[in-house]
């Protein structure tokens, strides 16, 4: 497969395109955001944010962030100039 997107990083001899590198960094943040230690920082009941306890509001934020990052990945994977996306190779 031609490597027409410059940049990215190589892991185990596989090239990971930059959009995926960015995606995996956000995913790492998201994963930590729903478990200890990051979630512990936002685990209290107060303050209420838009009526929701902080612990609940944080989780909703993480859920929306996960959605946004997946939309980003999809759009960048299927850019018009790149009809077939690079094979996913994390």
């Amino acid at each position: 497969m031609p490597e027409h997107t410059p940049g990215g990083i190589r892991i185990f001899g596989r090239r990971i395109p930059p959009n995926r590198v960015a995606f995996f960094i956000v995913v790492a943040f998201i994963q930590l955001g729903v478990i200890w230690p990051l979630y512990a920082v936002f685990s209290s009941a107060e303050p209420l944010i838009l009526g929701f306890p902080l612990s609940f509001a944080w989780l909703i934020f993480i859920l929306l962030l996960a959605f946004a990052s997946m939309v980003f990945l999809y759009i960048t994977d299927y850019r018009p100039d790149e009809t077939t996306p690079e094979s996913p190779k994390p």
Partner: protein, 489 residues
């Protein structure tokens, strides 16, 4: 009209529409096994979106979600937390599985793994694991359906009849239409559930407290602040520790994408792009868990001490003197949650049981028509076994189901290795899978042996990965030609 008749009428209409939407696809599906199990690889984004979304939202989510929020507070956030990242691996595994399926005719997860690792044992092992996990799962869905109809009809409809009628409908459309019946009916059931969940989740806090903010304020004022503090409470009412919460989230997230009935939907997609899009849209389905949890929170202050906690939603609806049509719609919504998971499980259990189990142990290859007939037969048999457990046997299924997450998660390392690690060998994969499941069962049976209070699946995964890597490196590499087919798919 009397309340009872209105409720029955609404539920009856719902069941009728479900049956119709489930049966129509039987007219256009091919009569091959691929047609029955993988919809001739023709599912578009809309149907896939609902199949992927609805099969996760079971009666466990619809009744158990509010039940957890009501009795354990923010511990219920676990239900949202694991799906957030759990879906992501499927974005990468799915298209690979799809391409291989299109090229070599695969329609189940075990078929892929068995071919990559050249092992019939693996195939049979996975099919046994799937059926063992699916039967209690299906039984729970049936129980949920019977239970809700029983409570709402104030005992008029016995549980065996409620579960029986509901699952007769499921059995009929799964039998005739296969996976497309599941797909179409899930689209209808999914839309129905979403509308209902948002309606109830926003209506109840408003009607009872004047809004979501005032509701949470009232919970804190009543001295339940600890419930709103993550990670909430244990089933015993003491604060849950981060070890337990985090490890449960991680294990469930790892297992999420490799649940056999979920994973095998990859093969049914029309194209890899439509598969990816429906996976990307999955969180929009997940957002519907937010109103579901709000329902449970709404009951904490006003209705303390309701047992069992899972009955809190029907209990509240009965207290509120709502119009009969709303109660009827709620009833139908719960049935939709139950059926949209139950049908997918029933269909997958039978497909996997025949394709990866029976077909692998008989001496001669099965003819396509024989195989399809056997799958249909197994649909009936598994349906009846689950029904037997639902109405006759009295065993703790919820515990069994939650325990199965740790077992299913053990499939993840071998799936990952199949696609990304050339050096993984048959011996490594088999020992990893068997070792992981064994350790999982060991710690599940003897929790006192745990060094740290982590989910037993974590121990299983640790041993699994160690064995997979260690044994693979100690054994001769698998045949490169076969391996490359999978790693560069």
């Amino acid at each position: 009209m009397e309340t009872g008749s209105v409720i029955l009428l609404v539920v009856g209409m719902y069941l009728f529409i479900s049956l119709l939407t489930g049966l129509i696809p039987a007219l256009r599906i091919s009569s091959s096994v691929t047609g029955y199990v993988a919809a001739d690889r023709s599912m578009n984004v809309l149907i896939l979106y609902f199949v992927i979304g609805a099969s996760i939202f079971s009666s466990f989510a619809f009744l158990g979600g509010p039940g957890w929020a009501y009795s354990r507070g923010s511990a219920a956030f676990y239900i949202i937390a694991y799906g957030v990242t759990g879906i992501i691996p499927l974005y990468f595994f799915g298209p690979r599985a799809w391409r291989l399926g299109k090229k070599f005719g695969y329609i189940t997860q075990a078929e892929l793994l068995a071919d990559r690792f050249d092992s019939k044992t693996m195939s049979v092992l996975l099919s046994v694991l799937s059926v063992v996990v699916f039967i209690p799962y299906l039984t729970l869905q049936m129980k949920g359906a019977g239970y809700v109809l029983n409570v709402i009809s104030e005992g008029m409809i016995p549980e065996w009849a409620g579960a029986g009628i509901t699952y007769l409908v499921v059995l009929v459309y799964v039998y005739f239409s296969g996976v497309l019946g599941v797909g179409w009916s899930n689209a209808f059931q999914g839309m129905f559930m979403m509308v209902l969940a948002w309606f109830l989740g926003l209506y109840l806090p408003n009607a009872l407290y004047g809004g979501i903010g005032p509701m949470f304020q009232a919970i804190m004022d009543a001295g339940h602040t600890a419930m709103l503090q993550a990670p909430g409470l244990t089933a015993g009412g003491t604060p849950w520790d981060w070890w337990g919460f985090s490890s449960a989230v991680v294990v469930s997230a790892i297992g999420f994408s490799v649940w056999p009935h979920f994973f095998m939907r990859s093969f049914a997609a029309k194209s890899e792009k439509s598969l990816r899009l429906s996976i990307v849209l999955y969180p929009t389905f997940q957002i519907f868990l937010i109103p579901i949890l709000l329902i449970g929170f709404a009951a904490i202050v006003l209705y303390p001490g309701v047992e069992p906690a899972d009955s809190i939603l029907p209990f509240m609806l009965m207290q509120l003197e709502l119009p009969a049509i709303v109660i009827g719609l709620f009833c139908a919504g719960t049935l939709a949650a139950s059926m949209s998971s139950g049908d997918a499980i029933l269909h997958s259990a039978a497909s996997v049981g025949v394709r990866d189990g029976i077909a692998k142990v008989v001496r001669n290859p099965l003819k396509d028509t024989t195989e399809r007939m056997l799958i249909r037969l197994l649909v009936l048999v598994i349906g009846l076994i689950a029904y037997y457990f639902a109405v006759v046997a009295d065993i703790s299924l919820v515990a069994l189901l939650l325990a199965s997450y740790g077992g299913v998660a053990q499939i993840f390392p071998v799936v990952f290795a199949m696609f990304y690690w050339k050096r993984a060998t048959k011996a490594g994969a088999l020992s990893g899978l068997i070792g992981g499941i064994a350790v999982n069962v060991l710690f599940l049976s003897y929790p006192a042996l745990k060094i740290l209070p982590l989910h037993e699946g974590v121990y299983g995964l640790a041993v699994n990965v160690l064995l997979l890597v260690g044994v693979s490196l100690l054994t001769r590499p698998d045949e490169p030609e076969r391996v490359v087919r999978f790693t560069s798919s």
